[in-house]
């Protein structure tokens, strides 16, 4: 295998940074460029829907590495750079407002974007209808929450997933009136056991969230004045809102890859080593979907996945085999509750609760045909770590 001469990474988030640092720690000494389309150097995303919304931290605390550290590692970071196209045949990237950039090996770590709703939105861009993925989004939400607090306006959250629930918790902590609308019959139904979902539903109700399940939003319409919109449901319900946060999932940013002819299916398709369908191009993190041994596709959106795939890609580029195949894990902070999940719960047919849920600390084991496949842990980090070991077969 020919050693790479010039590696370019598109995307300066968790996966991009991890790939860059892993390349250096594995001994790659050649040119290494990290391109980010946001104005900031790499930063931690998980706190955005938690401490950042609570305005309990400043921007410097979010940063993953200081520019000095990157410079010392000879990682050339270019922020505010948008890639408009990949030319695989000439190995060039087309950039908006800059000269094309050549590469010998390319890594796509382009992340994901909030899924757009299918319901009707006001025709003009409204400053109080927001989604959360980037630092700028979170800052806008925090600012808007302050405005709602000052003017006594309610908040509506659409979507009872992790982002929606964390935003609802942050808004309630500030004392805002919050309505949360979820389409399915229970919260976090794709991840959690029914019991855990019900426990979180009760938690949010106890904290004063007005929670509606099995509700379909029909439209967000202009309200009586510019600062107030109204969320209209299919059943005719109308909820005025000084802030609407839409958290209905994220979709992989795979447009560049698709246009360049790479195999994609709701994400850039990669193997366990982060190889795409093109020999010069690798991908890691939220933009990917992994082809498993049995042919099925697995899409993970998590810090752990970004970190692991970053390491796998760095190794693969340097001719080493370090596949990503550890047990997936995730976490969420809501109020004073830490939820940690290990494994993948798809297809579970039986659940067992351990510990005493009334004490606020318990775990639920998911089984599929008698086999333990996942564990939800609520304020039970020890059980979570134990579960990860079990699921790894240790």
């Amino acid at each position: 295998m020919k050693s790479p001469e010039n590696i370019v990474i598109v995307g300066a988030g968790q996966a991009g940074l991890q790939t860059a640092e892993a390349l250096r720690s594995l001994g790659y000494a050649g040119p290494l460029t990290l391109l980010g389309d946001e104005p900031h150097p790499p930063y931690h995303r998980p706190p955005l829907s938690k401490a950042w919304l609570a305005e309990a931290m400043d921007a410097a605390q979010l940063m993953m590495r200081s520019p000095d550290v990157l410079a010392r590692k000879h990682i050339s970071l270019r922020t505010g750079v948008r890639v408009t196209a990949i030319e695989p045949d000439t190995r060039r990237l087309m950039l908006a407002n800059a000269e094309p950039l050549s590469y010998s090996t390319l890594v796509l770590a382009t992340g994901a974007s909030p899924r757009r709703p299918s319901f009707e939105l006001p025709s003009t861009q409204a400053a109080n209808i927001l989604s959360l993925y980037r630092m700028g989004d979170a800052s806008n939400i925090a600012q808007r929450m302050r405005f709602c607090l000052e003017h006594d306006l309610p908040v509506v959250v659409i979507g009872g997933g992790f982002i929606g629930l964390e935003v609802a918790a942050a808004a309630r902590k500030k004392g805002l009136a919050v309505t949360l609308l979820e389409a399915s019959p229970r919260l976090l139904s794709r991840s959690l056991a029914p019991f855990t979902s019900d426990w979180f539903e009760a938690l949010h109700r106890r904290h004063g969230v007005q929670l509606l399940l099995e509700t379909q939003v029909r439209a967000i319409e202009a309200g009586p004045h510019p600062e107030l919109h109204q969320v209209v449901l299919h059943d005719g319900g109308v909820y005025p809102a000084g802030l609407v946060v839409i958290g209905i999932g994220a979709q992989a940013n795979d447009t560049l890859a698709r246009k360049a002819g790479l195999d994609c299916e709701c994400g850039v398709i990669v193997d366990a080593n982060g190889r795409t369908s093109h020999p010069d191009i690798y991908a890691a993190g939220d933009c990917t979907v992994r082809r498993l041994a049995d042919g099925t596709l697995l899409r993970l959106e998590s810090v752990q996945n970004a970190v692991e795939q970053g390491k796998s890609v760095a190794a693969a580029i340097l001719g080493q085999n370090k596949p990503s195949n550890t047990t997936p894990w995730f976490w969420s902070d809501q109020y004073d509750v830490k939820l940690q999940m290990a494994g993948l719960s798809m297809g579970a047919d039986h659940w067992e609760t351990h510990g005493d849920p009334t004490s606020g600390s318990f775990s639920v084991h998911h089984f599929k045909q008698g086999q333990l496949i996942a564990v939800d842990s609520v304020n039970a980090s020890k059980e979570h770590l134990q579960a990860r070991k079990w699921l790894e077969g240790k």
Binding site: M64, S381, K382
Partner: protein, 107 residues
């Protein structure tokens, strides 16, 4: 600003000024100290900011929470009586000059 002295596993010692209210993990990461990862961003979820705090000053710190103790059971390097997660130590003036030693591995 409070001075925290980090001792990397290589033995290199760096004293840096950290903003009060920041965590010892954030102070390390921002200043490019080697040996602290902080994968989860300081949510006490990943155990990759394991450090050893100078033993004589351990009692000046807020004691570890239940979840920190749980995570400390799973750190990659040797766990010692003075093991802490750096993301859970808030920097304040009274900690001026605190010595924080970093292990040789976090994962």
């Amino acid at each position: 600003m409070t001075t925290i002295t980090y001792i990397e596993s290589s033995g290199q010692t760096l004293s840096v000024d950290v903003t009060d209210g920041w965590s010892v993990m954030q102070g390390a990461v921002a200043n490019g100290i080697e040996g602290i990862i902080g994968e989860c961003g300081g949510s006490c979820a990943c155990a990759t900011c394991h450090c050893y705090v100078e033993t004589t000053r351990l009692n000046e710190l807020e004691p570890p929470s239940e979840s920190e103790l749980d995570l400390l059971e799973d750190v990659a390097a040797e766990r010692r009586p003075n093991s802490r997660l750096a993301c859970q130590i808030k920097v304040q003036a009274s900690l001026d000059g605190l010595l924080v030693q970093l292990p040789d591995c976090q994962l």
